[in-house]
Amino acid sequence: MAVKVRVPTPLRRFTAGIDEVPADGDSVRAVLENLEVRHPGIRERLLDDKGELRRFVNVYLNGDDIRFLEQLNSKVKDGDDISIVPAIAGGR
């Protein structure tokens, strides 16, 4: 499954400054693992030692927070959009 991944500023040094990169995989986890193959070093910024999403990283699949879906096991389809956004923002 080919998807587009939106990369926030702090991670763009792994993607040669590019803000949206392609990746493959049938789940969010597989896509993030594939990102590591394409952009070495990016995985450990997103996942902790146990392979879980870091506390301050939010991942959206087609605009939905994956914590409301099936977390990292959420299934992805061809053409899906994944967005990685730092959690620290807000205060209404």
């Binding site: 870091r54 506390r55 301050f56 730092p86 209404r92």
Partner: protein, 422 residues
């Protein structure tokens, strides 16, 4: 002399301790943790005394050594130093002898605690040379940013989810801000704004200016300590939405302790609305893992289901030996009415939440009748009329004839109610 300089040494990641220069940064490049301002407390200790603070104007800048700005601040000259009110009538009704209300319903100029954080954020944005300021908001923050931006002469864009109350749109647009509504909820707006901040180079007060912005929330705590006569309250109850203010009030108290400015120790307690209580649920479960929720409560100013700083709220509460609880919508409305009826203060639903939770903690035996308790009221009920309008008595309509009023007065039992007033 360092008089015109700040005592800030750097920004530092709260998670991995990596240090960064004092720039518009808010996220650690290594671990995405939040960045926090670091001060030279040794240097501050040498200059900051009770007498120095007391000699200054009654605004939030009287604590300027512990705020991350350079030079003489000119934003928010009347922001902060809101009343700390001994709530004797409310206290007598519920059985608390030393109950205080910290009343940010009258913060200048937009009637919420956000005037504190925004005063600091806009001052810092101007120092950094930004000419456009912005925020993602559904209410109190929007009005504060729009008003302070107007005074500073900065361009202002406000992003809100669609369907917010007319009062909030008007209350931002009136100051000349461009208001943009987004098809989606607050979390969608927040996410879009993170991306806009990234691309357009604007100062988003609650995104790329966030480390400085959040420091402004400390002034709520500094004032409580000073107004109690340079001592800390035994208990303070603080509402939690995204999690900005509670850890910063705890930080304020600890900074004052560290600088030798106050006596006593404190417990800090967290209040959330039952329809948006991810932090309280984690607290009660005894875990650090906060499961996001889809908010559903009348307390819209604290309806954040995915609190960025919730983890630090848990840390501050537990470290102090405090606790927390949640209040249902009916309990929130009852508490708003109770506060209004006994103390003449009209709070927004976040304030009702906080008072309702304070009373629960008292009834649970976590607060004793003689202890000093501060209830944090962070926003004004006049901005959220809709929340209580259907829960209060409607006015009685009569003709303009004394006879009609006499009959009505009789029906209301007026002779008994005002006996002694004549």
């Amino acid at each position: 002399m360092r008089k015109a300089m700040s005592y800030v040494t750097c920004l530092k990641c709260r998670e991995c301790s990596q240090e960064y220069p004092v720039k518009p940064l808010h996220v650690c490049e290594t671990c995405f943790g939040p960045l926090e301002v670091v001060y030279d407390y040794e240097a501050i200790r040498a200059v900051m005394t009770r007498e120095l603070i007391e000699s200054r104007a009654h605004n939030l800048w009287r604590y300027r050594e512990l705020l991350p700005v350079e030079g003489e601040p000119d934003m928010g000259p009347f922001s902060g130093f809101t009343p700390l009110i001994k709530a004797s009538r409310l206290g007598a009704e519920v059985g608390l002898k030393n109950l205080y209300i910290k009343d940010d319903t009258v913060n200048h100029p937009t009637l919420s605690y956000k005037d504190r954080v925004v005063s600091v954020a806009i001052t810092k944005a101007r120092e950094f040379g930004f000419t456009t300021v912005s925020c993602a908001s559904t209410g109190n923050l929007a009005t504060a940013v729009a008003a302070h931006a107007a005074r500073a002469g900065l361009r202002c864009y406000i992003f809100m989810p669609e369907g917010v109350e007319a009062g909030k749109v008007v209350g931002s647009t009136i100051y000349g801000a461009q208001v943009i509504t987004i098809r989606g909820n607050y979390d969608d707006v927040n996410r879009l704004c993170s991306e806009i901040a990234d691309k357009y180079g604007w100062a988003f007060v609650n995104i790329n200016i966030r480390p400085y912005y959040t420091e402004g929330a400390k002034t709520f705590g500094f004032e409580v300590a000073e107004q109690l006569g340079w001592r800390l309250p035994d208990h303070i109850v603080v509402p939690t939405a995204g999690g900005t203010i509670l850890p910063k009030v705890a930080k304020a108290f600890k900074e004052f302790q560290q600088l030798g400015l106050v006596e006593g120790n404190f417990k800090i307690h967290c209040a959330q609305a039952a329809g948006s209580a991810p932090v309280i649920r984690a607290l009660h479960r005894g875990t650090d893992l906060i499961t996001p929720v889809k908010p559903d409560t009348i307390a819209k100013s604290i309806a954040i289901g995915n609190p960025a700083d919730g983890f630090y709220v848990l840390g501050a509460v537990r470290e102090s030996g405090g606790w927390g609880d949640m209040a249902t919508d009916p309990e929130i409305i009852d508490a708003i009415k109770l506060l209004a009826r006994t103390e003449g203060i009209f709070a927004e639903p976040a304030g009702g939440t906080t008072l309702a939770v304070a009373l629960k903690l008292f009834n649970q035996g976590r607060i004793h009748p003689n202890e000093i308790v501060v209830v944090s009221i962070t926003g004004n009920g006049y901005k959220t009329i809709e929340a209580v309008a259907s829960a209060i008595e409607q006015p009685i309509i009569i003709e303009a004839r004394l006879r009609e009023f006499d009959a009505l007065y009789e029906r209301l039992g007026g002779n008994r109610a005002v006996a002694g007033a004549a």
